[in-house]
Protein backbone atom coordinates (compact mmCIF):
# COMPACT_ATOMS: atom_id res chain seq x y z
CA UNK A 1 0.00 0.00 0.00
CA UNK A 2 2.88 2.34 0.86
CA UNK A 3 4.26 2.35 -2.67
CA UNK A 4 0.87 3.11 -4.23
CA UNK A 5 0.17 5.89 -1.69
CA UNK A 6 3.64 7.37 -2.27
CA UNK A 7 3.28 7.52 -6.05
CA UNK A 8 -0.29 8.76 -5.78
CA UNK A 9 0.90 11.56 -3.50
CA UNK A 10 3.67 12.50 -5.96
CA UNK A 11 1.20 12.47 -8.86
CA UNK A 12 -1.39 14.45 -6.94
CA UNK A 13 1.26 16.98 -5.91
CA UNK A 14 2.08 17.46 -9.57
CA UNK A 15 -1.61 17.73 -10.54
CA UNK A 16 -2.39 20.24 -7.80
CA UNK A 17 0.60 22.44 -8.73
CA UNK A 18 -0.37 22.15 -12.39
CA UNK A 19 -3.90 23.28 -11.50
CA UNK A 20 -2.74 26.16 -9.28
CA UNK A 21 0.11 27.50 -11.41
CA UNK A 22 -1.01 26.80 -14.96
CA UNK A 23 -4.67 25.73 -15.41
CA UNK A 24 -6.00 28.44 -13.10
CA UNK A 25 -4.33 31.12 -15.21
CA UNK A 26 -6.13 30.08 -18.38
CA UNK A 27 -8.81 32.74 -18.60
CA UNK A 28 -10.96 30.80 -21.09
CA UNK A 29 -11.61 27.99 -18.56
CA UNK A 30 -14.69 28.96 -16.50
CA UNK A 31 -13.93 26.23 -13.93
CA UNK A 32 -11.09 23.79 -13.47
CA UNK A 33 -11.46 20.01 -13.60
CA UNK A 34 -10.59 18.37 -10.28
CA UNK A 35 -7.66 16.30 -11.53
CA UNK A 36 -6.65 15.40 -7.98
CA UNK A 37 -10.06 13.91 -7.24
CA UNK A 38 -10.03 11.92 -10.49
CA UNK A 39 -6.60 10.50 -9.62
CA UNK A 40 -7.85 9.51 -6.15
CA UNK A 41 -10.91 7.81 -7.67
CA UNK A 42 -8.72 5.83 -10.07
CA UNK A 43 -6.26 4.71 -7.40
CA UNK A 44 -9.06 3.80 -4.99
CA UNK A 45 -10.97 1.81 -7.58
CA UNK A 46 -7.84 -0.08 -8.63
CA UNK A 47 -6.84 -0.90 -5.05
CA UNK A 48 -9.05 -0.71 -1.97
CA UNK A 49 -10.85 1.71 0.32
CA UNK A 50 -7.92 1.64 2.77
CA UNK A 51 -5.49 2.77 0.07
CA UNK A 52 -8.07 5.20 -1.31
CA UNK A 53 -8.85 6.95 1.94
CA UNK A 54 -5.15 7.14 2.90
CA UNK A 55 -4.14 8.57 -0.49
CA UNK A 56 -7.15 10.89 -0.38
CA UNK A 57 -6.31 12.21 3.07
CA UNK A 58 -2.65 12.94 2.27
CA UNK A 59 -3.46 14.44 -1.13
CA UNK A 60 -6.28 16.54 0.26
CA UNK A 61 -4.03 17.92 2.96
CA UNK A 62 -1.45 18.95 0.35
CA UNK A 63 -4.20 20.64 -1.65
CA UNK A 64 -5.39 22.47 1.47
CA UNK A 65 -2.06 24.26 1.69
CA UNK A 66 -2.43 25.66 -1.83
CA UNK A 67 -5.99 26.83 -1.44
CA UNK A 68 -7.77 29.58 0.47
CA UNK A 69 -10.16 26.92 1.79
CA UNK A 70 -10.01 26.01 5.50
CA UNK A 71 -7.35 23.42 6.33
CA UNK A 72 -8.94 20.00 6.44
CA UNK A 73 -11.70 20.60 3.89
CA UNK A 74 -9.97 18.90 0.97
CA UNK A 75 -8.50 16.24 3.29
CA UNK A 76 -12.02 15.40 4.46
CA UNK A 77 -13.69 15.32 1.05
CA UNK A 78 -10.86 13.40 -0.62
CA UNK A 79 -10.75 10.82 2.22
CA UNK A 80 -14.46 10.15 1.81
CA UNK A 81 -14.14 10.04 -2.00
CA UNK A 82 -11.23 7.58 -1.77
CA UNK A 83 -13.08 5.40 0.72
CA UNK A 84 -16.30 5.25 -1.30
CA UNK A 85 -14.52 4.69 -4.63
CA UNK A 86 -12.45 1.96 -2.99
CA UNK A 87 -15.65 0.16 -1.94
CA UNK A 88 -16.35 -0.40 -5.64
CA UNK A 89 -12.86 -1.81 -6.30
CA UNK A 90 -13.14 -4.58 -8.86
CA UNK A 91 -16.94 -4.39 -8.92
CA UNK A 92 -16.98 -3.90 -12.68
CA UNK A 93 -14.63 -3.86 -15.63
CA UNK A 94 -13.26 -0.46 -16.37
CA UNK A 95 -13.69 0.49 -20.04
CA UNK A 96 -12.05 3.47 -21.71
CA UNK A 97 -14.76 6.11 -21.74
CA UNK A 98 -18.11 5.30 -20.12
CA UNK A 99 -17.19 4.07 -16.63
CA UNK A 100 -14.42 6.62 -16.04
CA UNK A 101 -16.85 9.39 -17.04
CA UNK A 102 -19.58 7.98 -14.79
CA UNK A 103 -17.11 7.73 -11.90
CA UNK A 104 -16.02 11.33 -12.53
CA UNK A 105 -19.67 12.38 -12.41
CA UNK A 106 -20.45 10.38 -9.25
CA UNK A 107 -17.32 11.61 -7.46
CA UNK A 108 -18.11 15.26 -8.22
CA UNK A 109 -21.67 14.84 -6.93
CA UNK A 110 -20.30 13.12 -3.81
CA UNK A 111 -17.83 15.98 -3.29
CA UNK A 112 -20.62 18.55 -3.59
CA UNK A 113 -22.75 16.59 -1.13
CA UNK A 114 -19.96 16.19 1.44
CA UNK A 115 -19.05 19.88 1.13
CA UNK A 116 -22.70 20.83 1.69
CA UNK A 117 -22.93 18.61 4.81
CA UNK A 118 -19.69 20.11 6.16
CA UNK A 119 -21.01 23.63 5.56
CA UNK A 120 -23.95 22.79 7.83
CA UNK A 121 -21.64 21.69 10.65
CA UNK A 122 -18.82 24.19 10.25
CA UNK A 123 -20.69 27.30 9.12
CA UNK A 124 -20.03 29.90 6.44
CA UNK A 125 -16.26 29.31 6.29
CA UNK A 126 -17.07 26.24 4.19
CA UNK A 127 -18.47 27.24 0.84
CA UNK A 128 -20.81 24.76 -0.80
CA UNK A 129 -21.96 24.41 -4.39
CA UNK A 130 -25.28 25.96 -5.34
CA UNK A 131 -27.59 23.84 -7.48
CA UNK A 132 -28.70 26.96 -9.32
CA UNK A 133 -25.12 28.13 -9.93
CA UNK A 134 -23.11 27.19 -12.97
CA UNK A 135 -19.94 26.17 -11.07
CA UNK A 136 -21.22 22.72 -10.05
CA UNK A 137 -22.57 21.80 -13.47
CA UNK A 138 -19.50 23.05 -15.30
CA UNK A 139 -17.21 21.17 -12.92
CA UNK A 140 -19.25 17.99 -13.40
CA UNK A 141 -18.91 18.43 -17.16
CA UNK A 142 -15.17 19.13 -16.91
CA UNK A 143 -14.63 16.04 -14.73
CA UNK A 144 -16.70 13.83 -17.03
CA UNK A 145 -14.57 14.96 -19.97
CA UNK A 146 -11.23 14.67 -18.15
CA UNK A 147 -11.84 11.38 -16.31
CA UNK A 148 -11.14 9.05 -19.28
CA UNK A 149 -7.89 10.91 -20.03
CA UNK A 150 -6.69 10.78 -16.41
CA UNK A 151 -7.64 7.10 -16.07
CA UNK A 152 -5.85 6.30 -19.33
CA UNK A 153 -2.78 8.26 -18.22
CA UNK A 154 -2.53 6.58 -14.83
CA UNK A 155 -3.33 3.21 -16.46
CA UNK A 156 -0.04 3.46 -18.31
CA UNK A 157 1.79 2.90 -15.02
CA UNK A 158 0.16 -0.10 -13.32
CA UNK A 159 3.32 -0.84 -11.35
CA UNK A 160 3.02 2.54 -9.59
CA UNK A 161 -0.70 2.79 -8.98
CA UNK A 162 -1.94 -0.78 -8.60
CA UNK A 163 -1.03 -2.90 -5.60
CA UNK A 164 -0.11 -6.50 -6.33
CA UNK A 165 -3.10 -8.71 -5.69
CA UNK A 166 -5.57 -5.84 -6.01
CA UNK A 167 -8.86 -6.49 -7.78
CA UNK A 168 -7.72 -4.98 -11.12
Amino acid sequence: MGRVVFWTTVTVLFFSLFEAAILSNLAFLPVMPDLVMLAIVYVSFMNSSTTGSTAGFISGLLLDFLSASPVGLNAFTKSVTGYVAGKFAGAFNLDRILFPSLMGLAATVLKALVTWILSIFFGPAILSYRLAGSALWLEILANIVCAPAIFALLGLFPSLFVRRGSPE
Partner: protein, 287 residues
Protein backbone atom coordinates in the same frame (compact mmCIF):
# COMPACT_ATOMS: atom_id res chain seq x y z
CA UNK B 1 -10.14 -18.56 7.20
CA UNK B 2 -11.39 -16.20 4.52
CA UNK B 3 -14.60 -15.59 6.45
CA UNK B 4 -12.64 -14.54 9.53
CA UNK B 5 -10.45 -12.03 7.67
CA UNK B 6 -13.18 -10.06 5.93
CA UNK B 7 -14.63 -8.30 8.99
CA UNK B 8 -11.12 -7.38 10.20
CA UNK B 9 -10.32 -5.79 6.81
CA UNK B 10 -13.56 -3.87 6.88
CA UNK B 11 -12.85 -2.62 10.37
CA UNK B 12 -9.37 -1.55 9.33
CA UNK B 13 -10.48 0.65 6.44
CA UNK B 14 -13.42 2.06 8.40
CA UNK B 15 -11.10 2.72 11.35
CA UNK B 16 -8.60 4.50 9.11
CA UNK B 17 -11.35 6.58 7.52
CA UNK B 18 -12.62 7.56 10.96
CA UNK B 19 -9.12 8.67 11.96
CA UNK B 20 -8.71 10.71 8.76
CA UNK B 21 -12.10 12.34 9.11
CA UNK B 22 -11.44 13.08 12.76
CA UNK B 23 -8.10 14.73 11.97
CA UNK B 24 -9.63 16.68 9.06
CA UNK B 25 -12.53 17.72 11.29
CA UNK B 26 -10.15 18.93 13.99
CA UNK B 27 -8.24 20.95 11.40
CA UNK B 28 -11.51 22.41 10.14
CA UNK B 29 -12.78 23.23 13.60
CA UNK B 30 -9.60 24.96 14.65
CA UNK B 31 -8.61 26.48 11.33
CA UNK B 32 -8.86 29.93 12.90
CA UNK B 33 -6.70 29.02 15.89
CA UNK B 34 -3.02 29.61 16.49
CA UNK B 35 -1.84 26.03 16.33
CA UNK B 36 -3.34 25.27 12.97
CA UNK B 37 -2.42 28.63 11.52
CA UNK B 38 1.22 27.97 12.29
CA UNK B 39 0.95 24.50 10.86
CA UNK B 40 -0.75 25.94 7.82
CA UNK B 41 1.98 28.57 7.45
CA UNK B 42 4.59 25.85 7.21
CA UNK B 43 2.53 23.89 4.71
CA UNK B 44 1.72 27.00 2.69
CA UNK B 45 5.38 28.03 2.56
CA UNK B 46 6.37 24.59 1.34
CA UNK B 47 3.58 24.16 -1.21
CA UNK B 48 3.64 27.68 -2.56
CA UNK B 49 7.44 27.45 -2.80
CA UNK B 50 6.93 24.41 -5.00
CA UNK B 51 4.23 26.29 -6.90
CA UNK B 52 6.64 29.13 -7.45
CA UNK B 53 9.20 26.60 -8.70
CA UNK B 54 6.67 25.12 -11.15
CA UNK B 55 5.75 28.61 -12.30
CA UNK B 56 9.42 29.48 -12.87
CA UNK B 57 10.05 26.22 -14.71
CA UNK B 58 6.92 26.66 -16.87
CA UNK B 59 7.90 30.28 -17.53
CA UNK B 60 11.41 29.13 -18.44
CA UNK B 61 10.08 26.46 -20.81
CA UNK B 62 7.46 28.72 -22.36
CA UNK B 63 10.16 31.40 -22.67
CA UNK B 64 12.53 28.90 -24.23
CA UNK B 65 9.89 27.59 -26.63
CA UNK B 66 8.97 31.15 -27.56
CA UNK B 67 12.63 32.02 -27.93
CA UNK B 68 13.25 29.01 -30.18
CA UNK B 69 10.22 29.74 -32.36
CA UNK B 70 11.17 33.41 -32.40
CA UNK B 71 14.70 32.49 -33.42
CA UNK B 72 13.58 30.34 -36.34
CA UNK B 73 11.14 33.06 -37.31
CA UNK B 74 13.89 35.63 -37.20
CA UNK B 75 16.18 33.45 -39.26
CA UNK B 76 13.51 32.98 -41.91
CA UNK B 77 12.77 36.67 -41.91
CA UNK B 78 16.45 37.55 -42.03
CA UNK B 79 16.93 35.44 -45.12
CA UNK B 80 13.98 37.09 -46.77
CA UNK B 81 14.84 40.54 -45.63
CA UNK B 82 18.52 40.35 -46.42
CA UNK B 83 17.46 39.74 -49.97
CA UNK B 84 15.00 42.54 -50.01
CA UNK B 85 16.56 44.85 -47.43
CA UNK B 86 13.26 45.38 -45.69
CA UNK B 87 14.32 44.53 -42.16
CA UNK B 88 13.21 47.92 -40.90
CA UNK B 89 9.64 46.55 -40.60
CA UNK B 90 10.74 44.00 -38.01
CA UNK B 91 12.79 46.61 -36.19
CA UNK B 92 9.82 48.91 -36.11
CA UNK B 93 7.62 46.19 -34.64
CA UNK B 94 10.22 45.29 -32.02
CA UNK B 95 10.60 48.94 -31.15
CA UNK B 96 6.84 49.30 -30.77
CA UNK B 97 6.71 46.22 -28.48
CA UNK B 98 9.58 47.46 -26.36
CA UNK B 99 8.04 50.91 -26.21
CA UNK B 100 4.67 49.51 -25.10
CA UNK B 101 6.31 47.30 -22.46
CA UNK B 102 8.46 50.22 -21.35
CA UNK B 103 5.43 52.48 -21.00
CA UNK B 104 3.56 49.83 -19.00
CA UNK B 105 6.51 49.36 -16.63
CA UNK B 106 6.96 53.13 -16.37
CA UNK B 107 3.29 53.47 -15.45
CA UNK B 108 3.64 50.81 -12.77
CA UNK B 109 6.82 52.40 -11.42
CA UNK B 110 5.25 55.83 -11.47
CA UNK B 111 2.17 54.50 -9.72
CA UNK B 112 4.27 52.75 -7.08
CA UNK B 113 6.21 55.95 -6.41
CA UNK B 114 3.08 58.12 -6.42
CA UNK B 115 1.48 56.16 -3.56
CA UNK B 116 1.75 57.93 -0.24
CA UNK B 117 1.60 54.61 1.61
CA UNK B 118 4.61 52.33 1.66
CA UNK B 119 3.93 49.57 -0.88
CA UNK B 120 5.40 46.30 -2.03
CA UNK B 121 4.98 45.49 -5.75
CA UNK B 122 4.26 41.84 -6.48
CA UNK B 123 3.42 39.57 -9.39
CA UNK B 124 0.69 36.94 -9.52
CA UNK B 125 2.05 33.40 -9.81
CA UNK B 126 -1.03 31.25 -9.24
CA UNK B 127 -4.71 31.02 -8.42
CA UNK B 128 -6.81 28.78 -6.22
CA UNK B 129 -7.07 25.17 -7.45
CA UNK B 130 -10.46 24.84 -5.71
CA UNK B 131 -13.33 26.18 -7.83
CA UNK B 132 -15.27 27.39 -4.77
CA UNK B 133 -12.44 29.52 -3.39
CA UNK B 134 -10.64 32.39 -5.06
CA UNK B 135 -7.19 32.79 -3.45
CA UNK B 136 -4.51 34.48 -5.57
CA UNK B 137 -0.87 33.59 -4.89
CA UNK B 138 1.70 36.39 -5.26
CA UNK B 139 5.49 36.18 -5.35
CA UNK B 140 6.19 38.23 -2.23
CA UNK B 141 6.08 36.98 1.34
CA UNK B 142 7.27 37.55 4.89
CA UNK B 143 10.82 37.92 3.61
CA UNK B 144 9.72 41.02 1.69
CA UNK B 145 7.84 42.54 4.63
CA UNK B 146 4.34 41.27 3.87
CA UNK B 147 2.03 40.61 6.81
CA UNK B 148 -1.43 39.15 7.19
CA UNK B 149 -4.41 41.48 6.49
CA UNK B 150 -2.40 44.00 4.45
CA UNK B 151 -4.60 45.54 1.72
CA UNK B 152 -3.76 44.85 -1.92
CA UNK B 153 -4.46 47.25 -4.79
CA UNK B 154 -3.62 47.38 -8.47
CA UNK B 155 -3.25 49.77 -11.35
CA UNK B 156 -4.86 48.96 -14.70
CA UNK B 157 -4.88 51.38 -17.58
CA UNK B 158 -5.47 54.66 -15.80
CA UNK B 159 -7.51 53.12 -12.98
CA UNK B 160 -6.44 52.27 -9.47
CA UNK B 161 -8.61 49.69 -7.74
CA UNK B 162 -8.89 47.50 -4.71
CA UNK B 163 -7.83 43.87 -5.28
CA UNK B 164 -8.28 42.38 -1.80
CA UNK B 165 -6.25 41.59 1.28
CA UNK B 166 -3.52 39.22 2.38
CA UNK B 167 -4.87 36.17 4.21
CA UNK B 168 -1.84 33.88 4.30
CA UNK B 169 1.85 34.65 4.37
CA UNK B 170 4.62 32.23 3.44
CA UNK B 171 8.33 32.99 3.38
CA UNK B 172 8.47 34.08 -0.28
CA UNK B 173 4.84 33.93 -1.31
CA UNK B 174 1.48 35.11 0.01
CA UNK B 175 -2.17 34.36 -0.56
CA UNK B 176 -4.55 37.21 -1.41
CA UNK B 177 -8.31 37.01 -0.85
CA UNK B 178 -9.76 39.06 -3.72
CA UNK B 179 -12.80 41.33 -3.29
CA UNK B 180 -14.87 38.99 -5.46
CA UNK B 181 -14.46 36.13 -2.93
CA UNK B 182 -17.64 35.08 -1.11
CA UNK B 183 -15.93 35.66 2.22
CA UNK B 184 -14.51 39.11 1.47
CA UNK B 185 -16.34 42.06 3.02
CA UNK B 186 -15.14 45.62 2.51
CA UNK B 187 -16.49 48.66 4.29
CA UNK B 188 -17.35 50.99 1.41
CA UNK B 189 -18.88 54.37 0.58
CA UNK B 190 -20.52 56.00 -2.42
CA UNK B 191 -18.11 58.69 -3.53
CA UNK B 192 -20.67 61.39 -4.37
CA UNK B 193 -23.59 60.80 -1.99
CA UNK B 194 -21.30 59.52 0.84
CA UNK B 195 -23.66 56.74 1.93
CA UNK B 196 -21.96 53.75 3.57
CA UNK B 197 -22.42 50.05 2.90
CA UNK B 198 -20.64 46.72 2.82
CA UNK B 199 -19.24 45.36 -0.43
CA UNK B 200 -19.22 41.57 -0.76
CA UNK B 201 -18.01 39.29 -3.56
CA UNK B 202 -20.06 36.68 -5.39
CA UNK B 203 -17.26 34.16 -5.98
CA UNK B 204 -16.61 34.85 -9.64
CA UNK B 205 -13.74 36.89 -11.06
CA UNK B 206 -15.95 37.90 -13.99
CA UNK B 207 -19.05 38.58 -11.93
CA UNK B 208 -20.38 41.61 -10.12
CA UNK B 209 -19.86 42.60 -6.50
CA UNK B 210 -22.78 43.48 -4.24
CA UNK B 211 -22.97 46.48 -1.91
CA UNK B 212 -25.38 45.82 0.94
CA UNK B 213 -26.87 47.77 3.83
CA UNK B 214 -27.14 51.12 1.99
CA UNK B 215 -29.82 53.30 3.62
CA UNK B 216 -33.09 53.24 1.71
CA UNK B 217 -33.39 57.03 1.83
CA UNK B 218 -30.34 57.18 -0.43
CA UNK B 219 -32.42 55.83 -3.34
CA UNK B 220 -32.92 59.20 -4.99
CA UNK B 221 -29.29 60.23 -4.63
CA UNK B 222 -27.72 57.15 -6.18
CA UNK B 223 -27.29 56.81 -9.93
CA UNK B 224 -26.04 53.96 -12.07
CA UNK B 225 -22.35 54.67 -12.75
CA UNK B 226 -21.64 56.20 -9.32
CA UNK B 227 -18.20 55.33 -8.01
CA UNK B 228 -17.80 53.21 -4.87
CA UNK B 229 -14.70 53.66 -2.76
CA UNK B 230 -13.32 52.20 0.45
CA UNK B 231 -14.53 54.06 3.52
CA UNK B 232 -11.26 53.57 5.42
CA UNK B 233 -13.03 52.61 8.62
CA UNK B 234 -11.31 50.30 11.12
CA UNK B 235 -7.98 50.68 9.28
CA UNK B 236 -8.64 47.46 7.35
CA UNK B 237 -8.24 49.31 4.07
CA UNK B 238 -7.05 52.85 3.39
CA UNK B 239 -9.87 55.24 2.51
CA UNK B 240 -10.88 56.42 -0.98
CA UNK B 241 -9.55 53.46 -2.96
CA UNK B 242 -11.95 52.81 -5.87
CA UNK B 243 -13.75 49.46 -5.74
CA UNK B 244 -16.20 49.75 -8.62
CA UNK B 245 -19.17 51.45 -10.20
CA UNK B 246 -22.88 51.01 -9.49
CA UNK B 247 -24.44 48.96 -12.28
CA UNK B 248 -27.88 48.27 -10.79
CA UNK B 249 -29.92 49.46 -7.80
CA UNK B 250 -32.23 47.03 -6.04
CA UNK B 251 -34.61 47.85 -3.21
CA UNK B 252 -37.59 45.82 -2.08
CA UNK B 253 -40.48 47.39 -0.19
CA UNK B 254 -40.17 45.07 2.80
CA UNK B 255 -36.42 45.63 3.19
CA UNK B 256 -34.89 48.49 5.10
CA UNK B 257 -31.82 48.87 2.92
CA UNK B 258 -30.79 48.92 -0.73
CA UNK B 259 -28.57 46.47 -2.56
CA UNK B 260 -26.34 47.72 -5.33
CA UNK B 261 -24.71 45.63 -8.04
CA UNK B 262 -21.14 46.82 -8.47
CA UNK B 263 -18.93 46.45 -11.54
CA UNK B 264 -15.35 46.16 -10.21
CA UNK B 265 -12.78 48.71 -11.33
CA UNK B 266 -10.22 45.96 -11.76
CA UNK B 267 -10.54 43.37 -14.51
CA UNK B 268 -9.38 40.34 -12.52
CA UNK B 269 -9.04 38.10 -15.56
CA UNK B 270 -6.07 40.12 -16.81
CA UNK B 271 -4.54 41.04 -13.48
CA UNK B 272 -0.76 40.55 -13.50
CA UNK B 273 0.79 42.90 -10.95
CA UNK B 274 -0.43 44.15 -7.60
CA UNK B 275 0.78 46.43 -4.81
CA UNK B 276 0.60 45.35 -1.20
CA UNK B 277 0.12 48.33 1.10
CA UNK B 278 1.98 48.47 4.38
CA UNK B 279 -0.32 50.59 6.51
CA UNK B 280 1.55 49.84 9.73
CA UNK B 281 4.13 52.57 8.91
CA UNK B 282 1.42 55.24 8.66
CA UNK B 283 -0.39 54.01 11.76
CA UNK B 284 2.85 54.02 13.76
CA UNK B 285 3.43 57.66 12.76
CA UNK B 286 -0.15 58.60 13.73
CA UNK B 287 0.29 56.96 17.13
Amino acid sequence: MQKRRMPIQFRKDAFLLTIYLLVSGIFLAFSGGGFVVNFRDIGFSFMSGAQRGIYSVSSFFSGTVSAVSELSDLRRKYQELSKRLEDYELLQRSNADIKTENERLKDLLGFSESLSIKNIPAGIIGRDPNNLYSGITINRGAKHGIKKNMPVISFQGSNTGLVGKIVQVGRTTSLVMPVYDYQCFVSARLETSRYDGLVNGQGSADGLLVMKYVKKRARDEIMVGDKIITSGENYNYPGSIPIGFVSKIRGLDYETSLELDVEPVIDFSRLENVFVLDMSAGQAEEN
